[in-house]
């Protein structure tokens, strides 16, 4: 099993001091190399869930086990290192660093993993996403679709076992949506990476064998 969430609760403190529950998940699991699409209403806690799985946010209680490691028991530095080595993250807004070229953005992801930077692998990944000829281009010199492809290559740079994708096609045109989606899914399949993708698109969701609605396993449900 690649991912297992048990009794995960997460709430935020509102300005008036009250705690606003976001997540209350008794159990959620993802098998190795499984590809799952997560749907749900806006503000339903999908991004919070991805952040909790990535170790960016810590749950108030419960466990998040990835490849057999409960990341909630790790100190923050260990969690950061774990995230760098085992979890890939594709953001809705790409989040490429403007000061760095396409290749450098990919290398940057590698440099935080604590492993030697594998430049040929980075070049290979960018070539794989069709950007082998644009390695030294800055994000501002790339189209929106190309930027997201760089983001995909960056997420796969450290050979993760789990890829989290937060609406990766939301900001790209229809023509590129298919390409991006295929890239992510194919890359995950080839590398046996588990994929948890958030989307609002019914079309995209329909392409996945397993679709889960957050409200179905989150007790906070639509009230979040």
């Amino acid at each position: 099993m690649s991912l297992l969430l048990e009794n995960v609760r997460k709430s935020y403190r509102e300005p008036d001091g009250h705690m606003l529950p976001i997540l209350d998940i008794p159990r959620f699991e993802l098998a190795s190399a499984e590809q799952v699409v997560l749907v749900g209403s806006s503000g339903g806690g999908k991004s919070t869930l991805l952040n909790v799985i990535a170790g960016i946010s810590t749950p108030d209680s419960g466990s998040v086990t990835i490849d057999g490691y409960d990341i909630t028991t790790m100190i923050e530095a260990a969690r950061d290192r774990f995230r760098a080595q085992r979890i890939g993250y594709v953001f809705q807004t790409f989040n490429l660093l403007q000061a760095f070229s396409a290749l450098e953005n990919v290398l940057l992801g590698m440099s935080f993993s604590g492993r030697p930077v594998d430049r040929p692998h980075a070049v290979e990944l960018l070539t794989r996403v069709g950007l082998g000829h644009r390695l030294s281009h800055r994000p501002s010199q790339l189209s929106v679709g190309e930027q997201q492809r760089v983001a995909v290559a960056r997420a796969l740079a450290n050979r993760p076992t789990l890829l989290l994708a937060d609406e990766p096609t939301a900001n790209v045109d229809v023509a590129n949506q298919e390409t991006i989606l295929r890239l992510i899914r194919d890359a995950c399949r080839e590398n046996k990476v588990s994929l948890l993708m958030v989307t609002h698109s019914a079309d995209i969701a329909s392409q996945f064998d397993r679709q889960v609605n957050l409200s179905e396993f989150n007790r906070v449900g639509a009230g979040a």
Binding site: I56, S57, A77, R81, N95, L97, Q98, A99, F112
Partner: protein
Amino acid sequence: MNLVTIALKSIRQRGLASSLTALSVALGVMLMVTVLVIHGIVTDVFSQRSIGYDLIVGPKGSDLQLVLSTVFRVAPAIETLPYQYYLDLQNDRRVELAIPFAFGDFTEQGGFPIVGTVDEFFLNEYAPKQEFQIRGKRLSRPFDAIIGSQVARENRWDIGSEFKLVHGGAESDHVHDEKFTVVAVLAPTGTANDRTVFIQLEGFYQIAGHEQNLIQSIKRQREFYGQSLDEKEIAKEAEELTKKFHLDEPHDHGHGDGHAHHPHSHGTPVVQKRVSAVLLRMKSGPTSIALSTELKRGLQAQAVNPIIPMARLMNTFVGNIQKVLVVLTALIILVSGVGIFVSIYNSMSDRRREIAVMRALGAGRQTVFSIILLESILLCVGGGLLGVLLGHGLVFVAAPFVEAQTDLVINPLRFERLELILLPALIGLASLVGFVPGMTAYRTDVARALVE
């Protein structure tokens, strides 16, 4: 990709702001380097490096006055030493070199000090490892003169120029009749030698008015050595000297230059000769101390290691001003440091997302803190190194002009040891100003920053 590369990329991303902040540090450091170099040059002027002798022997009195008169030639000495004592010192086994020094007149034009000395003075180093460079002939005739570079420039004198002396000071109206001829010009030395006219000691004694009353001279010399002041003995000695040197036969004589002078053709008796000071180079350090101690107890003279009063002089006149300048430039660098702080701190709000992305990619809090700190250090050190280059560049470019105007000798590649602390100081400053922005990065709420 290491942290330095990441920091450099971020700096380059904010090119204009980064360049301006680094430039402000560079200008501060440039000023600091310039002040330090000037400080070094002025310190040299007031240090042992401006005189190549271990001791200055002069009449008892103020050691500072002796130094001011002998090294800086500010005012002629009031008291003098018997020439015989110079000869004694020359024969002293502890002494490697003794140079007589007679300063009492100034040039009529420009009021430059005139020093009577011996040709050997020019054969020896005027400062450690610094030898005179002379254009022209050496002193051979009594009324030959060698002039310093400043004298040559300001009076527009060159080899062949003739001049007269004013007794006791430029403001005095007693102009000696003797005309001296410039036979050589010294290259700039950055010392008082540049504004000095050197004449032969023998010529100095042949100037009318420099002769001493024989009886008085004998009496003064006897006093100096603590010998009998019996008037009969003094009169007898005077009579013998008068006969020996034909001092009672007045006659004019030429010097080959057509000038008439007072009667000294048979030479001046040693007893009538006086010197302002004697410059000594000793065979060893301990002998300097021994001679100083000996003089303190015995004769009417003092032996001064010039470095001590010169250091005192330096502290009195320029020490505090230079300290203020150094402090001011340090403050300028500090203000530049605040500039770096403001620049980085202001950029932090724009960079929250960038930092959050790095954190999401696995960068630890310490990593993002280090990146921000490194940016600060790179800006400070980069600006600092540029400032060092600019400072030395400024000295390099300005050196010939300053030398031409002041006769200070400036090594364009001069490097002050104090500059070595600039780099660690800048790193310290950068760490200080980078700390707060670094902590902002450290505390960034990743989840929140990613959705902003």
